[in-house]
Symmetry: C2
Subunit: 251 residues, 2 copies
């Protein structure tokens, strides 16, 4: 009989075997974004953490569905659909060639207008932690690295979020046509900006990887991680680390 596991360990085993399996996962895309894999494997190497969902960052062009007065702008509405989604920065620049656009004759809109929204959304990651101390440790590391919209939720799940965004109404869906509010060269420029956002986003992901490696995986969980380190604590830690290095050198 296998040794008895607690709830966290059971959940973690189940998730890890799902990540290893070749069958599609529950996301629309059906698999983990490749750019997320290093950070996912790093975090899952920690015995108190397991990743539960992720997106490496994406460009999407979305046509809103029909709206009644109650539904909000940007909501899916009835019959909304994604015209284009990519997680690959190399696929950004030429999506416009896949569609025929017409130019919107007027731009009068109201609360029922079905907008076409061009969006860039950055990396997001959810990590279930064993307890509040490990959740706090991950939260503090993410915040100190610029992921300023991170937060701890129910069941010690940390959402790691950053604000690198675009959210642009580029046209409308009218008489079954995609009518543009902007010139096609504006779309090319948006694609250009999106490319830079993909790059910024990747750079921040690498920074986060390094910080998690150095501050969490490389060192044991400390009792103080629920609070940011004070200057005195930092001084004391640096002193201890220095002494330890000296000891290693003398061996």
């Amino acid at each position: 009989m296998a040794p008895k596991q607690n709830a966290f360990d059971q959940k973690k085993s189940a998730i890890l075997s799902e990540i290893k399996s070749v069958s599609p996962d529950l996301s629309p895309k059906g698999s983990i974004d490749e750019l997320c894999l290093p950070i996912i494997h790093l975090i899952n190497s920690h015995e108190d953490m397991v990743t539960t969902s992720s997106c490496s960052g994406r460009l999407s062009v979305f046509a809103e569905g029909s709206k009644d007065v109650k539904s909000k702008i940007g909501g899916k509405g009835d019959g909304g659909k994604w015209l284009f989604v990519t997680h690959d920065k190399n696929a950004v620049s030429d999506w416009t060639s896949q569609f025929n656009f017409t130019v919107a004759k007027d731009m009068r809109t109201d609360s029922t207008t079905r907008y076409i929204l061009y969006k860039y959304e950055p990396f997001i990651l959810h990590v279930k932690c064993r307890d509040f101390a490990s959740a706090s440790q991950l939260y503090n590391t993410a915040m100190s690295c610029g992921f300023r919209e991170s937060g701890i939720g129910s069941n010690h799940i940390v959402a790691v979020r950053i604000s690198i965004k675009l959210d642009v109404p580029i046209g409308t869906f009218l008489d079954d046509q995609l009518q543009l509010f902007v010139e096609e060269r504006y779309l090319s420029m948006l694609n250009n900006i999106t490319l830079m956002k993909f790059q910024d986003n990747e750079r921040k992901m690498r920074e986060l990887y390094d910080k998690i490696q150095n501050e969490i995986i490389g060192k044991p969980l400390q009792e103080t991680t629920a609070q940011p380190e004070t200057k005195a604590e930092r001084f004391e830690r640096k002193r201890r680390e220095g002494l330890e290095r000296q000891r290693q050198l003398q061996k």
Copy 2:
């Protein structure tokens, strides 16, 4: 001598007397947004919570500063400035008349281009709670009300966030001129969308107010609030509440 207060109570007293004072606060605007006042007063009526910062939602038009390769798009950069900020939906429609725009001759941009960004940002609120149980209660209420980007941070501070956004590069700052990438009637349409976002945002604030009133202020903190209520717990609670109502009626 005044009775001894713990750290949370001291902090709360200090914040409340600052809110009551007429001198400007530390925000760029110098005062609390009027639309936030009802929810701030409601939350501060709870003995385990105190609001620490808030914004009721705003439109801003921002000119990025000069950028080196390292700074990210949307960052302030060196010499960036707000051309326009309003928290008032009635001021949205006519800001364009305050500026002289020229039309951008070309839209070729690179990583040093100084963009003019048109942004709508929704209501955000930070609430310091006495302990993790009260922070979880507020977090769960916000999440269940559509504030899906909320999270608990350090020191039991809950960030209440929702995703009602616009983030549009409308032009560039070149040769000391504001050069538009879009037509002026596109700006009018953006203003129109922003107005609807202000309205959506206000509606969500009212929903949140009602939920906090009904689920937190109106009922005592329960041990189970760190976890969402299960179906069985809900059934049991409803049964108890029904019996209580019957008892009241029979009196």
